[in-house]
């Protein structure tokens, strides 16, 4: 595709529900990153993938967060038993490869947990 796409663009959920956020990276990009952007804060690194593998999961805030990537393309970030503090914009980025320092960001998914 022309750029990184994310869906849904907005998600409102109730506390305790599970949510799935989807990221479609730029075609051919092997590296994929997830970030969280809270109101008034910078971007917080969550996890990255090289292919389908996630070597470093240390940025995930809790065990309620998980992510997977299939076919070296689409990635899904899952938040189980959502809490109000999970409300944020979740951004996905991709780069040609992990050593590539230029990351291209999607528009984000705005998650609101009521």
């Amino acid at each position: 595709g022309a750029g990184v796409s994310q869906s849904p663009s907005n998600k409102v959920t109730e506390k305790g529900k599970d949510v799935e956020l989807r990221c479609d990276p730029i075609s051919g990009h092997t590296a994929l990153y997830w970030y969280r952007q809270s109101l008034g804060q910078g971007l917080e690194f969550l996890i990255y993938f090289q292919g389908n593998s996630a070597p470093d999961k240390s940025g995930l805030p809790s065990d309620r967060f998980s992510a997977e990537r299939t076919g070296g393309s689409v990635s899904t970030l899952t938040i189980q038993r959502t809490q109000q503090e999970d409300s944020a914009v979740y951004l996905c980025a991709s780069s040609l490869q992990l050593a590539d320092k230029t990351q291209y960001f999607g528009p984000g998914t705005r998650l609101l947990v009521l």
Binding site: L43, Y48, Q50, D56, L98, K101, F105, P107
Partner: protein, 114 residues
């Protein structure tokens, strides 16, 4: 621990003026310093970047000044325009051996007035 400190938090500049945003870092392993521009409802987009072996980089109206000894770098926007009104993030990248990881500042909201 905030590894990249950004200031100011917000900035108002008149059209035609110079906008200056400053960042400071702590980790000497950082080897790439990009600036991202983010418009409301959009993901961050790479604006300009510099490597530590260069003291200045200019692209059009945007200039990065880099002071390696002081561990500081700044973005200058010359002849600021209302269309430049956005949030700007500085970032720093380090290669961990498996991936290039970006650490972001907390952002500066720039408003350019007529």
């Amino acid at each position: 621990q905030q590894q990249v400190k950004q200031s100011p938090q917000s900035l108002i500049v008149q059209k035609g003026g110079i906008s200056i945003i400053n960042c400071a870092y702590e980790n000497t392993a950082f080897d790439y310093f990009p600036w991202y521009q983010q418009f409301p409802g959009k993901g961050p987009a790479l604006l300009i970047a510099i490597r530590p072996d260069v003291s200045e980089k200019k692209e059009g109206r945007f200039t990065i000044s880099f002071n390696k000894s002081a561990k500081q770098f700044s973005l200058h926007i010359m002849d600021s325009q209302p269309g430049d009104s956005a949030t700007y993030f500085c970032a720093a990248s380090s290669f961990t051996g498996t991936a290039s990881k970006l650490t972001f500042g907390t952002g500066t909201r720039l408003q350019v007035t007529l």
